[in-house]
């Protein structure tokens, strides 16, 4: 039982950095793939079309 509680405590404390990393990944995809800033849109234009992101 103690061992089980230890493991579940450990995996809970591990979840925060994973969630933060996933958020960062999502942010990269949003900025590079979806942001409508003119410079970003023009630079990433061809990739956005090829990856199937809604582009313009």
């Amino acid at each position: 039982m103690t061992a089980f509680i230890e493991i579940s405590k450990q995996s809970k404390s591990n979840m925060a950095p994973i969630a933060f990393a996933a958020f960062l990944g999502l942010l990269i995809i949003y900025v590079a793939g979806h942001s409508q800033s003119d410079i970003l849109h023009n630079a990433a234009h061809d990739v956005r079309h090829a990856t199937g992101f809604p582009c313009h």
Binding site: N14, G33, A44, A50, T51, F53
Partner: protein, 229 residues
């Protein structure tokens, strides 16, 4: 943990994104350039007009091509970080190592989530086709991606019936609701170009994601070994 995901995501994303960028340049870019001739009005379609299906294309445009490969790498870094985050959650829960071949399956699942599932109702658009309002398509794209991710996770890691049914419903729901559609068709690009573009984009996406999944598993394993030694 955080740096392990970030470092392995960076390596897998740079390598996978470079391969994806080169494949896109080889197979997707010519179709896109061809379509832009119609988008900009250099070539015109419809009616009695006929055009060569193999026009001269400005194939090599150094700045544009380098930027495309660079952004392909950035986007694939984002993909890789998300994929490795999911792999890490699974590793923590099951305490198993994800092999290179299992990584490929993870990659194909990622492809279904961010590329194939949204494309079922919102196909990859070639420049010069009619489309609905951009913001509503982006919102629909993100919702579909989240629903598909949750659905695939439920199906992949459950053997009970209820989670499987809920998983299927989550994957289908955005398509039953429907993607934003244009009110009228006014796109100047020929249908042949649009169809080839969509199938090329989806095909290259599948190959690139399979590579990304395998690489993610390798780099995650390497980083884990390095951190624990």
């Amino acid at each position: 943990m955080f740096s392990r995901i970030l470092v392995s995501g960076l390596f897998a994303g740079v390598l996978g994104g470079f391969i994806a960028g080169v494949l896109q340049w080889l197979f997707v870019q010519p179709v896109l350039l061809h379509s832009e001739l119609y988008e900009t009005g250099i070539l015109k379609h419809f009616g009695a007009l006929t055009n060569s299906a193999q026009p001269d294309l400005d194939r090599i445009q150094p700045i544009r091509d380098i930027l495309s490969i660079l952004f392909s790498m950035i986007i694939y870094i984002g993909y890789a970080i998300l994929l490795i985050s999911a792999m890490t959650i699974h590793k923590l829960k099951s305490n198993t190592i994800i092999s290179f071949h299992q990584g490929i399956i993870w990659g194909i699942s990622g492809y279904i989530i961010v590329h194939f599932a949204p494309a079922i109702s919102l196909p990859p658009e070639v420049p010069g086709v009619a489309a609905a309002d951009l913001q509503s398509r982006q919102i629909w794209w993100f919702i579909t991606t989240f629903f598909s991710a949750a659905g695939i996770w439920l199906i992949a890691f459950n053997s009970k019936k209820l989670p499987l049914v809920i998983g299927c419903i989550l994957i289908l729901a955005p398509h039953i609701f429907g993607a934003p559609e244009p009110s009228s068709f006014a796109g100047p690009a020929p249908t042949e170009i649009g169809a080839l573009f969509a199938s090329r984009a989806l095909g290259i996406g599948l190959i690139s994601w399979a590579v990304l999944g395998g690489l993610s598993a390798i780099f995650l394993h390497k980083e884990t070994m390095r951190a624990t030694n």
